[in-house]
């Protein structure tokens, strides 16, 4: 498959130890931002997109889109599945549907991922300003 294409994937959100350490350090900390503004992808999916690790990617769902830094997953193989740690960046694209029981659908969401080399990765304040108009 040629580079710069779009991939249809399944989005999972969840915990990582880096996110856990970052959140305890402080949600405004650099460690926290670096731990949650990432997208773990299978090496094969990175190859299909024609990008290298640490390149920016645009993850889109029916509920929104967000730029994240692509990282090669150490938990591979999981071709067609991307993993974004819980946080404000993941929230931009998760499914708010609660199916009448209170719990939004935060795992197993159909998504699309594409290279976004020219799009910036926003920091916390920029992201909040863009999404909610406050900072």
């Amino acid at each position: 498959m040629s580079g710069h294409s779009k991939l249809r994937v399944t989005l999972l959100t969840g915990r990582t130890i880096e996110q856990g350490v970052g959140k305890e350090r402080g949600k405004a900390s650099k460690e926290y931002m670096e731990s949650v503004s990432v997208c773990y992808m299978d090496a094969e999916d990175l190859r299909k997109l024609g990008i290298k690790e640490k390149a920016n990617v645009l993850v889109s769902t029916n509920y929104g889109s967000v730029v994240l830094k692509a990282l090669k997953s150490l938990r591979a193989p999981h071709i067609g599945v991307i993993y974004v740690p819980y946080g404000p960046w993941a929230n931009a694209v998760v499914n708010p549907e609660t199916h009448s029981i209170g719990m939004p659908s935060l795992k197993g969401i159909p998504a699309q991922v594409e290279p976004a080399i020219d799009k910036p990765l926003l920091n916390m304040q920029e992201l909040l300003k863009k999404q909610f108009g406050k900072k």
């Binding site: 399944t10 999972l12 959100t13 969840g14 915990r15 990582t16 130890i17 856990g20 350490v21 970052g22 305890e24 350090r25 402080g26 949600k27 405004a28 900390s29 949650v36 509920y63 929104g64 997953s73 938990r75 591979a76 193989p77 999981h78 599945v81 993993y83 819980y86 946080g87 404000p88 929230n91 931009a92 998760v94 499914n95 708010p96 609660t98 199916h99 009448s100 029981i101 209170g102 719990m103 939004p104 659908s105 935060l106 795992k107 197993g108 916390m124 304040q125 909040l128 999404q131 909610f132 406050k134 900072k135």
Partner: protein, 485 residues
Amino acid sequence: MPVVKAVTCPVCGSVCDDIELTIENGNIVKVKNGCAMCESKFLGYNGEHRVLKPLIRKNGELVKASAREAIKKAAEILVEANYPILYGWSSTSCEATRVGIELAEEVGGVIDNTSVVCHGPSLLSIQEVGVPSCTLGQIRHRADLVIYWGSDPWSAHPRHIERYTNFSEGRFEKSEWMGYIDKIKAFIARKKIESVIRRLFLKKKSTAPSPHLEKDVCPAISKEGRKLIVVDVRKTRSAEIADYFIQVEPNKDYELLQAFRALIRDQEIDVDKIAGVSVENLEEVADAMIRCHFGALFFGLGLTMSQGKLRNIDAALSLVRDLNMRTKFVIMPMRGHFNVTGANTVSTWQTGYPYAVDFSLGYPRYNPGETSVVDVLLRRESDAALIVASDPVANFPKKAVEHLVKNPLIVIDPHMNATSQLADVVFPSAFVGIEAEGTAYRMDHVPLPLKKVVDPPRGVLPDEEILRRILSETRKIKKRKQEAS
């Protein structure tokens, strides 16, 4: 330097109570026995992200204010609101939650805790099916088969395996830690030998399977001693240390659980694969489940957040119920925050319901899907919010947050987080379990005392005290209004 022993860790639902802290000049300088998250909290809690003065939004900017001014502003917001949300509670003490419920009743709001976005479906399912469970101590001493399903304790509860399951030294079951170390040593030695042979004979890189891959082609669970099985959609870090790993396809947990139920009842399955896993492998695991003397199934958000949600938990609870006809088996949700169980417990004592409690009619009502905070926000019904020890802006879907931040927002939290940045009133608070005492409930419903090991910064109060003052001010304002009318 004074060393404080047996400190309870205020991070995850494992609530380890063997932490040792070295204190120097009123600061924690060393942490013993803690995991990475525990160290990060005890050593980094007082960093540059700490809020030290109350803040009030004026002309679009958060500016410093006196405690009295902030209390008055917060109380006014809550009294003025018709349907305020009071949310959070999982990272504070049971004592603070108790005051929060009193405040919710006083202002006629909806009080919800973070279980609504973690194990809320588990609670709903437990109410329907029941839960055969026990304490973690019993599992430590007796469990010879442990299953983590949709849960990665290595990342989210780093000492769970070491303290309560396979790597803990129980009275009747021994730790598997040395066996794991031997396995890793053997794997490294084999890789080294292969590397030498490759260099000597200039052979191409071998594709020798890792010890974990070996398990995939050799599904027999035949080892002696405690067995660890992990079921997940990815090969997590916990899966790497497991004796057996089942990689289920995303959103297919329900099928897999029901397949296990059929196998446990000796029913035949007519297909070759279920949820991406061969039935032959499932039969091996089902056999191991039946043959164990004491099994424990821990489940995480992989079940509660995926398609099926509470129905996945129904299936897991039913599987354990079925297993109890063949052997002894228990099940337990892997609770995330250190006192989310306490928030549920206190809420149940006080109102009859564990979360999503609505006081707008003057008495407690519970109907998750209607009275749960995400649904209230999605329907755009609330008109103010009080957030305690939580960060919904970082945890709720964007659409819910849009309504949350549109209305007056009060935050009580020691750190500046995403929610505080968008708030109208921010209260700094003391860290419970470090700078304030309290009670927390471990994931197995065992209450543990949280210690105060250092003093909070001057003028910074515990959550409980801030809530009491807001409650008192709220009552004063309501009384004045009644007298005026």
